[in-house]
Symmetry: C2
């Protein structure tokens, strides 16, 4: 519960000062400028007064209760004043001071120390190395932060890992005259965490949209849990920066390397319905739309314009963002034809032409709002000098206030028609400078609408032999190694994942008997955790038609790899299907990541793969399969037969069930899996699994 | 020469009126408000005075010369007043009036009529259905346009097919306090064309950057010629909208369908060095950077910041836009360490920290400007309340004024520090709200720099047998049909394009002799322009090892296709190479478009193809090959041998030479071409060519 942080009844400033360049001074000034609704207590052992406020030498001297302190004194003194704060019963300490974890070992020790001190007294630390918090709630109006963008009430809340990015977000809302609800840039996150703050915003009735900036995801499992809870009630818009760091650049052919931090963030966002943005600007524009507009009930947009060209841009952008142009109902068209001028185009976009007045433009929007074929409306509006533009704006404003469908608007105008923008904005319709922006904001809203409307995913569990799988895992648990291939195939069998007949042999003498069981033609493979790329090393012989051919290959391989003392795998040779690949990457403390893609060059050269977090619903599994660029190949491009997509989805779900049940399986690669034509299912041809201590 | 249009010595307004909602009134008011430097003559047969100006009943009554008239009278009267204008010696007529080509047949006839009338007198028509023109040159100051964005001098010129888009572009420049040079939205383009206007801007000394908006490219060949000439001197930034029209959506497997309007625009832009943008906003931001900053000499950028997070965003955006982070020289690092505070990070980004003053921030930029390893500088600057921000801005401004390297800047601030933005902008350094924007503007400048620095492409012509090819073409010239396959192979031979041995047979009796010439094993193919998809139709038999097998296949095929009376092709059977595809699509009145891609699913499912306009230089051919996503496959992914990329480039050039020499070849598909390992070249396996009347 962060109430005493975001709704403090009183604030003390440790490091308060009369030097206007000091953080203590600036925080105090910000609190005063924004008319904080509680007492402020400056603490300074030397000064008698700070800005006309009586100063206290120590927090202990304050006669009243203190909820929150802002600390901006030298780093090494922080633990001592925190002791005093603890004794005083302070609930939260915002530590602005830098020189902790971010400067190395010594700082880290100091950081641990301050958290220890605080927790001893049940006090919480916000920071250190942090900007602070703000809450524009008129009953509170707390600006316990040393930044400069003025605050006024609104319903978008911001949490930013980077203070600079947080400031940019605040600044842009301010520049377009848009208020803000709460703000937080939390610094080193030694105690109060980003996830707690998001959770708190989620519970705040007045917050309609949350903007998040992150550079790292400190507690991915916690974020997933909190975000999933919050997005059910309100949208989370997120910007994850630092995408080009070394760790995310290296993408190799194996699941382990493919699944990096970026992928993890992506699958967590997807699973929890967090909307990811690539730029600050797009995120802000979307947040503004969310803050006052209803979420669209579908993806069918209608564009209304009084000038041609920008509407075409809106179409381009809507279509490429995945929206659909609504088909106007016959009734709507009939109504419109009665309203608009003769030169107008009654289609989608609806072009009411530049001479349209309130009756034509407003009437058109009014009629469209009633059309059940339409989910959202994008307006393009140029203030033509020969039209009653204020009248149009007034009419749009009236409609905007009562509309149950979202409306976004591009307005092209200058100061002279400032009233036009004011009237439209006042109604809650966001006004943008560019059609592209309006379209992108609408597309984000549509995406969120789709997320909120989907049924709760059904995570069906297949009947599997988990007990038997456990006996396999047990033999290796606690080690860090690749499992022997026959154990991997045994695990697949336990989970009902079809694989080609496979058996292990150790000695030449077993060849005939085992081959008879597997059935000719066979494939012979060397099996040793020291040989990773078997094919390249000459450890695979395919389509051996009889015992003689098999023996020749066996002798050759046994000689070649003698030094590794390997085992061998004998496998049924099957005609090639379409090669797909499935993978698992374990995640510490949370469900594993599942990968699906086309095999061979598609994964290695084109990186055409999809990731999702386990567990997988049937819808998620099918969506994964359908989302790869090469999906037409599985559907039967170029006159070939389609593969059994439903069976592939089932295997993916069974595979994710196996991975969820045994989190110590850190990597599993099924590569290739042959997908056969409809009705003939699929079969794992090769598989690899790595176990680690977990 | 458009001087009398953009620099008129006098303007007459036909349709001038005292009704403030009329176009005639608004144009006149715009001319007055912007203090036009010549006489204005209102024409109105009824009024004696228009806005205190003596009105003339007819243009004939004006006692002086008239360069330009603005016409906003009823469409059907336009031809008659144009007669009068012609007789008067008017040079240009801006026709605002609508109701011409855009309303159908009748309008089109009227439009042709007005152009005829004008040309009879050597007069030119601008429009009809047009906004007008503007020129902010203080010596002229003409606002012959009915729009509302105020005009003041600058050095970016705009030409927009859509008036609404043009207005948006103007408006945004105005909103950020940036002037404009010339403006033009040309309507129906019945006479004065977009290409002429671009050419005119190109010759205007004061225009430093040109923004173009287009929906259709009326004269592609003309645009290519003009744009190539202009981009050698100054950048052309272009926005092509209407990307999602039906015509561009349908993408099929054959070159003919792949090469649509969008592709043509793209190859023309690439060939002529036009910078293409996807949004109005990105184009404007880049234009602002071009208008005052030098073009970077390379792609190595350094980022300087006084706050961490936004710099990370700048890195992400620079890298994904193809820029490289500069490696600071040892000397620069040494200098910086002496200048900056201890907490600062001397790396790239350089973080001078929020407490940095003019000495630290400004000194850093000064040192970086001297580093030969750096081509451009991106600044992130937050006005920290505890730093001398105006001092920093003053220093940056001084550096900006003399810098030979481009500097772009994100500034985070509010009104209180308006002077900071003023000081920086005054120096010519563009100031943006977001780091993303600054990075994208810089990347556009870098791309243009790369274009201007490249050597003039050498269009080597191979020695070919054009004469013999002419005899082949001659047989079909004037028809519209697919050429017989042996003729296609003959053309390839004439141009030195390697193909597998191929011969034509008509009767069973020729089988043995021809097979002996071609050499077993052979492929037998049916050959008829009525059978397009031969393989699917059962018209191809591969790897026929002897005469007996060949005869069996022949009998079967001859029976099957008897009704078409087909010929047959006998072809040497070669082991499969990597399949690539080359294509040609002819362009009316200009060089053809050349396509390259990987064959099979890569072209059909993934559309992984590249297009360029003929002729191809060696660099262009290699760039095409290297730009496909699947290029690693040709380079030898997964341990396979690389193919002969140089030979592929040579074939592409020879192929484009063939296509250029015979523009009547409207479509040629070489599909597949087998690319063999290095040293073994490549060979066309199948080819198809369509000739049309041209």
């Amino acid at each position: 519960m962060l109430d005493a942080l975001f709704k403090p009844r009183s604030v003390a400033i440790i490091g308060a000062s009369n030097n206007p360049l000091s953080i203590g001074y600036i925080v105090m000034q910000n609190l005063l400028d924004h008319d904080f609704k509680g007492p402020i207590y400056p603490i300074n052992p030397k000064a008698k007064f700070i800005k006309s406020f009586r100063a206290y030498a120590s927090i202990a001297d304050i006669p009243d209760e203190v909820d929150l302190v802002n600390i901006s004194i030298k780093n090494t003194i922080v633990p001592y004043v925190l002791e005093e704060c603890g004794k005083k019963g302070v609930k939260f300490a915002i530590v602005h001071t830098a020189g902790f974890k971010e400067v190395g070992e010594e700082g880290l020790a100091l950081e641990k120390q301050i958290v220890e001190v605080a927790h001893k007294y049940g006090m919480r630390i916000y920071g250190p190395n942090s900007q602070g918090i703000q809450n524009s709630d008129p009953e509170i109006s707390v600006y316990a932060n040393f930044t400069f963008v003025p605050m006024f009430p609104g319903n978008i809340s911001i949490v930013a890992q980077s203070g600079g990015v947080g400031e940019t977000l605040k600044l842009h809302l301010y520049n377009i005259g848009k208020g803000m609800r709460m703000y937080s840039s939390f610094g080193n996150e030694s105690d109060v965490s980003m996830n707690e703050i998001i959770d708190y915003y989620g519970q705040d009735e007045e917050t309609k949209a949350i903007m998040v900036h992150m550079e790292t995801l400190k507690d991915p499992a916690g974020f997933l849990e909190v975000a999933s809870r919050v997005t059910a009630k309100k949208p989370i818009l997120a910007l994850k920066t630092g995408k080009t760091s070394e760790g995310t650049k290296a993408v190799a052919s194996h699941t382990g390397a493919l699944v990096e931090q970026e992928t993890l963030v992506d699958v967590i966002f997807k699973k929890s319905g967090v909307l990811r943005f690539d730029s600050q600007e797009d995120m802000i524009h979307a947040a503004v739309a969310f803050s006052n507009q209803p979420v669209p009930g579908g993806d069918r947009v209608v564009i209304v314009t009084n000038t041609g060209g920008p509407a075409i841009i809106a179409v381009d952008e809507c279509i490429s963002a995945g929206l659909k142009l609504a088909e106007l109902s016959a009734k709507t068209k009939e109504t419109l034809r009665k309203i608009v001028f003769q030169m107008a185009i009654v289609s989608n976009p609806v072009d009411v032409v530049a001479t349209a007045g309130p009756e034509q433009y407003g009437g058109t929007v009014e009629a469209l709002l009633k059309d059940p074929n339409i989910d959202s409306i994008l307006l393009v509006f140029v203030t033509a000098p020969f039209a009653d533009c204020e009248g149009i704006a007034r009419k749009l404003g009236e409609l905007g206030k009562v509309s149950k469908k979202p409306i976004v608007c591009q307005v092209m105008t200058i100061e002279k028609w400032a009233e036009v923008i004011r009237l439209i904005r006042e109604s809650g319709i966001p006004v943008y400078d560019f059609a592209e922006t309006a379209a992108r904001a609408l597309s984000a809203m549509t995406e969120y609408g789709k997320f909120t409307r989907r049924k709760a995913p059904a995570y069906k569990k297949y009947e599997v032999n988990k007990q038997k799988a456990e006996t396999v895992i047990k033999r290796h648990r606690g080690k860090e190694k690749f499992l022997p291939q026959d154990d991997v195939f045994e695990l697949l069998r336990c989970y009902g994942i079809p694989a080609v007949n496979t058996a292990k042999i150790m000695k030449e003498e077993e060849l005939d008997k085992t081959a008879a069981e597997v059935g000719f033609p066979v494939v012979l493979k060397v099996d040793s955790d020291k040989i990773i790329h078997k094919t390249e090393a000459g450890g695979v012989s395919v389509n051996l038609k009889d015992g003689k051919a098999l023996r020749v290959s066996f002798k050759k391989m046994a000689g070649k790899f003698a030094k590794y003392k390997p085992g061998f795998i004998l496998q049924q040779y099957v005609e090639s299907g379409k090669e797909v690949i499935m993978g698992v990457k374990g995640n510490e403390g949370m469900e594993p990541t599942i990968m699906f893609g086309l095999g061979g060059v598609f994964v290695e050269v084109l990186k055409d793969v999809q990731f999702r977090l386990a567990p997988l619903s049937r819808e998620e599994a099918l969506e994964m399969i359908r989302s790869i660029k090469g999906f037409p190949i599985l559907e039967g491009a170029r006159g070939e037969k389609a593969v059994d997509v439903n069976k592939l989805a089932e295997i993916l779900i069974r595979f994710s069930q196996l991975a969820s049940d045994f989190p110590e399986l850190d990597e599993i690669d099924l590569n290739p899996v042959f997908a056969f034509e409809k009705g003939k299912g699929a079969a794992v041809v090769d598989a690899r699994a790595k176990i680690i201590k977990r």
